[in-house]
């Protein structure tokens, strides 16, 4: 291991310990590490966007298309170059909100464009990719005969799933008071919702513990282990 690698390990380990120190109480070391993380992430995002979005996809693309038109008379090059002006203008208009309240309203145009695009993609994607396939997948055979070689538990699972879907939907049906039959079914719906919350909580605990394992594994094996290896190699 080189000295530069060792230095990197020590920086990473120090920042990890600084962040973990928050578990005891808020302190300047934690705040320092937090700000470093936010700053580095923001700088990385800005550099990356400037290099790979602005430069590659806008400036270079515009230049090459314009050159193709000027040197070879390519009409498609001209069209492509002109098309790139539209998002550039929209991007600049987005910044008007920082100029002042007098022209700040212009930034609503690019925002409207973004919302329109997002809504169009979201609605079609939501219906085509989630709603219809999920409804289709809920329509399952209610009874699977164990004598036909099918799994009995699959039939139980299908019944449970349909009961869960219907009762949860009824729980969120607010046009009628939840009394009588609707009240009973909506209470069954609450049970299903609670089970799903429990599953989500369990999965979240597992995820957070995994993060701790990852950092402690790093501290023990890479940081301490790497430092010992480096000293032994000297």
């Amino acid at each position: 291991m080189s000295f530069a690698n060792l230095l990197g390990l020590w920086v990473a380990a120090t920042l990890t310990i600084a962040i973990l120190s928050f578990l005891y109480r808020d302190n300047p070391l934690y705040k320092f590490a937090e700000h470093v993380y936010v700053g580095v992430s923001a700088a990385y995002f800005i550099i990356y966007s400037a290099k790979f979005t602005m430069e590659l996809q806008l400036i270079n693309e515009f230049k090459s298309n314009l050159e193709a038109y000027l040197q070879q008379g390519s009409t498609s090059g001209l069209v492509e170059a002109l098309l790139l002006i539209i998002p550039t203008i929209l991007g600049i208009l987005m910044l008007t909100r920082w100029v002042g309240p007098k022209i700040g309203w212009i930034s609503r145009w690019p925002i409207a464009f973004t919302i329109g695009l997002g809504a169009g993609l979201g609605i079609t994607g939501g219906i085509q990719g989630v709603l219809l396939p999920q409804v289709q997948a809920t329509i399952e055979p209610l009874w699977v005969s164990p004598f036909s070689g099918a799994n009995l538990w699959a039939a139980v699972g299908s019944l449970l799933m349909i009961l869960g879907v219907v009762s949860t939907l009824i729980y969120f049906y607010f046009s009628r008071p939840h009394r009588g039959f609707i009240g009973v079914v909506s209470r069954i719906g609450i049970i299903f919702i609670m089970v799903s919350f429990g599953a989500a909580f369990g999965a979240t605990v597992m995820a957070r513990v995994s993060l701790l394992i990852g950092r402690l594994y790093f501290l023990v094996n890479e940081w301490i282990g790497g430092t010992i290896d480096f000293i032994q190699a000297l």
Binding site: Y48, S49, Q128, G129
Partner: protein, 314 residues
């Protein structure tokens, strides 16, 4: 009674300390654990395993450092698997800070593959030198290239990193038409057409399998825009928090497999016969879960006792 009150109002830092100890000890002491592979991970493994050699698999890096311990072992394991099956990898990212992590994971897998096959590669080159002493000859170069194809994983030939582009959904939809519309250059600004493995890859029709490694909603976007619209086969490797949201997509067969959390990574590594962070972290995961269950049960019982006592008093 005093003890029960003390436990129910325990300083949370004591719980942190307990958690620290129960996670640290299994990391220091190697505790062997049996691995039981679940059907979702097995399905993901089969989806990769059954692809014919030479197929292209797209790995989408949709996580960053905050989910590294969970997602990194998965992407390394899938990359290892893909390389061992002779598959080619395209890396894309929808989180800029996740991109270097994905690149590191695929490079780690390529390094492991090259290290594993180094002797075979060296032997093939030695044999080639014996047969064709002139190392500048066309024949020698051909044999060297054949050996490299078989025993080495190289950037541009076996894997490429197309980098990050903003505009999640529109990119996913647009790639169904032509990848170059968004990724004309890779992450090093190299022209994509100059990379050998990209020559015949244009859209989802040329991608046999898409694997999204995510800590958020990105898998659902892939399902909506690449799966539903273009029929792209998708598997996912996600953090524990996301797992419950994706089960409906498994049931509807919109997802071909799911690797969930560190446990999922452990199961995939087990199927692959490889010991990564997933396998090494499982004992600590188990002891931590035992502590959480113990604390929840203890807290519930003590709170129940306290409520009975206060009711009797009143």
């Amino acid at each position: 009674m005093k003890f029960i009150r003390w436990v129910t109002n325990i300083d949370r830092r004591i719980i942190f300390l307990l958690m620290f100890v129960v996670v640290l000890v299994p990391i220091l002491i190697d505790i062997p654990l049996e691995t039981d592979v679940g059907p979702t991970v097995e399905a993901a493994y089969t989806a990769v395993d059954t692809l014919p050699p030479g197929s292209v698999i797209m790995l989408s890096v949709d996580y960053d450092a905050t989910s590294y311990p969970e997602c990194h072992p998965m992407i390394v394991a899938v990359s290892n698997h893909a390389f061992s099956k002779g598959l080619r990898i395209i890396l894309v990212a929808h989180i800029p800070t996740g991109l270097p992590l994905g690149q590191a994971a695929v490079e780690e897998a390529a390094f492991e593959y090259n290290k594993l096959h180094k002797q075979e590669y060296d032997a093939a080159i030695k044999q080639a030198i014996t047969t064709y002493p002139d190392t500048s000859s066309v024949e020698f170069r051909q044999v060297r290239e054949d050996a490299a194809v078989k025993y080495k994983k190289r950037y541009g030939v076996d894997y490429v990193n197309l980098g990050f582009r903003p505009g999640l959904a529109s990119i996913m939809v647009g790639m169904g038409r032509e990848i170059r519309d968004f990724y004309a250059q890779d992450y090093k600004s190299t022209d994509v057409d100059s990379l050998p493995m990209m020559k015949r890859v244009h859209n989802y029709e040329d991608i046999a399998l898409l694997a999204s490694f995510a800590h958020g909603k990105q898998v659902e976007y892939w399902i909506q825009y690449a799966g539903a619209r273009y029929g792209q086969k998708i598997i996912a490797g996600v953090t524990g928090v996301v797992i419950p949201d994706l089960y409906p997509f498994l049931q509807s067969k919109q997802l071909s497999g799911l690797i969930g959390g560190l446990k999922g990574a452990n199961e995939y590594e087990f199927l692959l016969g490889r010991k990564g962070l997933g396998t090494k972290g499982m004992p600590a995961q188990s002891t931590a879960h035992i502590l959480v269950i113990f604390l929840i049960v203890l807290g519930t019982i003590f709170e129940f006792i306290l409520s009975i006592l206060s009711r009797r008093k009143s």
